[in-house]
Structure formats: structure tokens, C-alpha cells
């Protein structure tokens, strides 16, 4: 899932300067799971902003609404009724949701309320770990299910680098070198031959931004 972190209230408040009718829109999927932008967090942010504006002696109206997903038109369309009475909208979705709202409601001010950080797994209560960088050319088949693009800060394919220090990563000495983990896994499953071969330089052409994908079954539809 996509992991995000709420921006500091002060930063959100600064971006709202000059608006008196503000709507906070939560997203009930990824950012709700990572406790950054679900219904509960919408309520918390609304309370914090209300208190803060009141302490400044300002009368600001703050509305709250949460949709299932902000990255799907069918969930964003019904917001039209909610949004029309507000001057500015703070979206607590990831960057995808913020942009989607901004595009669909192009006469409205749509502001981000979270920093989108990574794609990762839930490792325990309140702990998330990045697991995938969406490189578009998955090498996990060769690296024992451990991603060197993600777990090695340098993302190198013929590791380890020369900066490995007592099997730990140069960047964080509490963390095992990604290539040590890959080696251990491949040794366990008898596939060390995978990393004896050279990995060629990656093809970054496939990473040209923005990425766009049309499922083959729908390609004709898209052209029309």
C-alpha cells in the first residue's frame, strides 16, 4: 500500500491563509490504514485547525468528509455536492488523490495535507517498511524475493558495494546489507548461481515519467 505522513499542522495552516470555508477530504484506503488520512485523521486535523484559528481570533468554517478512494472517479464524483460551498479543500489522500481532485474540480483550490512517502508493508502496529520502488522491471525472481533497488540505498544490481561494513549497510549500520540478505536467501534455496551472473545496466527508458498503462483488453477503448 501507499504510505503517507500528515504534514505539520502549521504548514497546512499556512497554505490555507485567506480562506474562511475549508473542506478536509479523507481517503479511506491506504492512508487510512497508515493512520495519516482516513476518517479519524480528518477529524483530528479539523479539530486542530479549528482550535488554532480560534486562538488567532479567526472565524473559519471547516467541513469534513471521507471517501472510499480518491484515486477513482466513481468515488470522487459524488464529492461535487460537498465541495461546491467551500473555498479551499485539503486532501488527506496521497499525491494521486490530491491531483485527481484538483483535475476534477479545476475551479477549486485543492491543497495537500500529507507527504506521500513510499509503497510498503505493515510490519506491526504503527510501523511501515518500504518494499517496492515501482521500477517497472522486477528482479525479485533472481534476488530471492528481496529487492536490491529498494533495500540497497544505491540500488545496485551487482552488490555488495565496497562500503559494506561488517555486513551492515554503509547508510545505516543497524541494518543488514541488502546483498547479504539476498545472499543468505539464495544460499538457503540453492540458487546462488543467480547472482554469480552479471546483472547488466538497467534500462531507465522504461522509467520515463509520467508512466501510463493501458490494459491490453482496453487499448481500443482508449484510442476511441
Amino acid at each position: 500500500m501507499i504510505v503517507a505522513q500528515r504534514k505539520p499542522v502549521e504548514e497546512i495552516k499556512r497554505s490555507l491563509e485567506g480562506y474562511e470555508k475549508i473542506l478536509i477530504v479523507g481517503c479511506g484506503t491506504c492512508v487510512a490504514v497508515c493512520l495519516a488520512g482516513g476518517e479519524k485523521e480528518v477529524g483530528i486535523l479539523a479539530s486542530l485547525l479549528k482550535m488554532s484559528f480560534r486562538m488567532d481570533g479567526k472565524e473559519v468554517e471547516i467541513g469534513e468528509v471521507t471517501v472510499e478512494r480518491q484515486c477513482d472517479k466513481e468515488f470522487v464524483h459524488p464529492l461535487e455536492e460537498n465541495i461546491k460551498d467551500y473555498q479551499a479543500v485539503v486532501s488527506l489522500a496521497c499525491g494521486v488523490g490530491v491531483q485527481f481532485l484538483s483535475e476534477m474540480y479545476d475551479d477549486k483550490v485543492i491543497l495537500p495535507g500529507v507527504n506521500t512517502t513510499f509503497m510498503g508493508s505493515n510490519e506491526g502496529e504503527g510501523v511501515w517498511q518500504e518494499r517496492c520502488r515501482a521500477c517497472g522491471d522486477c528482479v525479485l525472481a533472481k534476488t530471492g524475493g528481496i529487492c536490491p533497488i529498494t533495500f540497497c540505498p544505491k540500488g545496485i544490481l551487482n552488490g555488495p558495494c565496497d562500503e559494506i561494513n561488517n555486513e551492515k549497510c554503509e547508510v545505516d549500520k543497524e541494518r543488514d546489507c541488502a546483498w547479504i540478505l539476498i545472499y543468505q536467501k539464495l544460499e538457503k534455496i540453492g540458487r546462488l548461481d543467480n547472482i554469480r551472473k552479471m546483472f547488466p545496466a538497467r534500462n531507465y527508458q522504461i522509467n520515463t515519467r509520467p508512466a501510463r498503462l493501458i490494459h491490453e483488453a482496453y487499448q481500443k477503448y482508449e484510442v476511441e
Binding site: 544505491k154 565496497d162 559494506i164 561494513n165
Partner: protein, 338 residues
């Protein structure tokens, strides 16, 4: 003799690194180049060493070449993508710089511009492959070159025989990718180094061991913790930590003579904070213990230089004023002994 010829000759090859400053005042670097260029087989200039921005390796190598020295270019994958790396290799060749070390490179946050975007388009193995490809007249995009490059190419290694098979796989990949020589990280354990060398003898590559001078137990611990690949034994750290106050020099000499391969000791003092008279007293006392069985040469300049020299003269210990004289003296004493 070029660095490549020196490597091929089978002689004991000596290289050293010259620091590249952060700025346009290069007086000190030039002074170091001039002092060293005729005394070693190659002068290495690191490529933004430890992710700290400085004079480019290629420019410094060119200055070395202009002054008649043999330079070794270092290229890291941290700061340049494959276009920049390949064009730099062509540029180096045009400037007559044909010695090269390919490294992946320290991570950006290690250095002094920690907000920079790390590149790592290639890794060290892929960079070595790229050099060999350019030598065949092709670039990574599959395009023909209008003239090929030629390099004597090396890489880095950690000389630890206890190292995981993984690192040996990586070493073999580097050799397969085209590494002709390796620069080893600084090593402080001769037994382990010997074991490691016996492993590498199965390959036709040259290994250059590195020396970094240790000044204290704190420094040793700090390097162990922060400098990748460096492993200073607890025994040596304990030895250093065991030096009594004002007895550091005696301890240093004691550690030096512990190793039977040590043929002579050169004490080089450029006293700033260190006072020459204190050092001189230390030398006299160390010699008095009768532990020193190899020739001892001293070069001493700096704070309280006269007092220091008087102490040495009184004890009948010769000293020299320049590093050059001292180095020549120690070499001739070793040769006489051999």
C-alpha cells in the same frame, strides 16, 4: 615507467593518494604532487572522496600529467550517469590519462552535500564492463565510437579472508568484468592479509595493499565504526589504548617492532601541537629499553625543534631535517642490512 608497465613488471608497486582541495587554491595539492610524483608508481586522485565535493579527479590527473607524474583517475558511480561516465572516459583518454579505478562510491549522506541526488545509474561491476566495451569501440547505447579508449583498469576490495562468499562472488565478477588490479582497504592484520592473498593468487590480478597511519585508540575505534572495510583488531586497539600518558611514541615503536617484517623505523615529526622535545625524550627512552633491533631514522621539525635536536644529539641519535633526506637514509640503511 608507466603504472601499467610497473604492474606488469611484477615489481612491488607503490601508489599514493593526493588530496583534492575544495576550491581553486591548489597550492598544497601541487606541492604534494611535486614531492611525490617521482617517488611512486602512480598518484591516485579520489573522485569527490567520501562524497565530499572537491577538485575533479580528471583535472587533478591532468595537472599531475603536466608535471610529469603518473596519475590514476578514480571514477565513482555516485555522481554521474552513464553518459557522463562514458564521456569522462573518452576525455581522460584524450588527455593521456590511461589508469583508472572504478568504484560504486560512498553514499551521498556520508559527505558534505548531503541533500544531493544520488545517481548510481551503474555499479562498479557495470562501470568496469563499460570501460571494456568502450575499448572495443562501442558505447553502452550500442553506438560505434569514432576511436576507442584504452585503460589500465582496477577496482576496490576488502582484504578479509573471513569475508562472506558473497564478497568473493563480487570480486570474481569485477575480475570477469575487466579489473586488472585492485586497491585494498587499509589492513592492520598481516596474517589475515596473507590468507586473503593466497586466495587471490588463483586470479591473474595485482593487489595493492593500503596503509593508513593510526594515531590513537580513539581513531582506531572511530575508523572501525565509520570507515567501510576497515577492521582494526581489538589487540591493536588495546595496545594503543594501553599507551601511558606521554608514552605514545614508545608504544608506537613497541608496536612497530612486534612485526618481524619491519626492516626499519622512520619517525617523522612535524611538530605543531606535538613538541619536538617531548618526542625526542620518547625516542631516547624507547631506545633505552633495548627493544629496537632495526635501524631508526628521525626527521624532526616544528615546535621546540632545537630542544628536541639537542636531546637526540646528547643521546647520540642522528636526525635529519627534511622528509626527503630521512626517506633516503632509511632506504639506504635497509639496503645495507639486506
Amino acid at each position: 615507467m608507466s603504472f601499467k608497465e610497473a604492474l606488469d613488471s611484477g615489481k612491488f608497486v607503490v601508489t599514493t593518494q593526493v588530496g583534492a582541495p575544495r576550491g581553486t587554491n591548489i597550492d598544497k595539492m601541487i606541492q604534494h604532487i611535486d614531492l611525490l610524483k617521482d617517488k611512486v608508481d602512480g598518484l591516485i586522485i579520489a573522485d569527490n572522496q567520501s562524497a565530499e565535493m572537491g577538485v575533479p579527479s580528471l583535472v587533478a590527473c591532468h595537472l599531475i600529467k603536466e608535471r610529469g607524474g603518473e596519475s590514476i583517475l578514480q571514477l565513482t558511480c555516485r555522481d554521474k550517469n552513464r553518459l557522463a561516465l562514458q564521456s569522462e572516459l573518452i576525455g581522460a583518454c584524450l588527455l593521456g590519462i590511461n589508469n583508472l579505478i572504478c568504484i560504486t562510491g560512498d553514499y551521498v549522506t556520508r559527505g558534505n552535500n548531503i541533500e544531493a541526488k544520488p545517481v548510481f545509474d551503474l555499479d562498479a561491476v557495470q562501470l568496469l564492463q563499460t570501460v571494456r566495451l568502450l575499448e572495443q569501440g562501442k558505447d553502452l547505447g550500442g553506438n560505434e565510437l569514432s576511436g576507442a579508449v584504452k585503460f589500465c583498469t582496477g577496482a576496490m576490495l576488502i582484504p578479509d579472508p573471513d569475508t562472506k562468499e558473497l564478497q568473493l562472488i563480487n570480486l570474481e565478477k569485477k575480475i570477469q568484468a575487466g579489473a586488472e588490479f585492485f586497491l585494498a582497504c587499509a589492513t592492520y592484520n598481516m596474517e589475515k592479509f596473507k590468507q586473503f592473498m593466497s586466495y587471490t593468487q588463483t586470479f591473474r590480478v595485482k593487489i595493492i595493499a593500503a596503509v593508513l597511519l593510526l594515531a590513537s585508540a580513539e581513531m582506531a575505534r572511530y575508523w572501525n565504526d565509520t570507515v567501510p572495510g576497515i577492521s582494526i583488531t581489538q589487540e591493536l586497539i588495546d595496545d594503543l589504548a594501553g599507551a601511558k600518558r606521554d608514552m605514545a611514541l614508545e608504544k608506537g615503536i613497541e608496536i612497530a617492532v612486534k612485526y618481524d617484517k619491519v626492516k626499519a623505523i622512520l619517525v617523522n615529526v612535524m611538530g605543531g601541537i606535538t613538541r619536538c622535545d617531548e618526542v625526542a625524550n620518547g625516542i631516547v627512552s624507547a631506545r633505552g629499553d633495548g627493544n629496537i633491533t632495526v635501524p631508526l631514522v628521525i626527521r624532526m621539525v616544528g615546535t621546540n625543534e632545537k630542544e628536541g635536536q639537542e636531546i637526540l644529539a646528547k643521546a647520540g641519535i642522528p636526525f635529519l631535517k627534511t622528509m626527503e633526506e630521512a626517506a633516503q637514509k632509511v632506504v639506504s640503511l635497509v639496503q645495507e642490512g639486506a
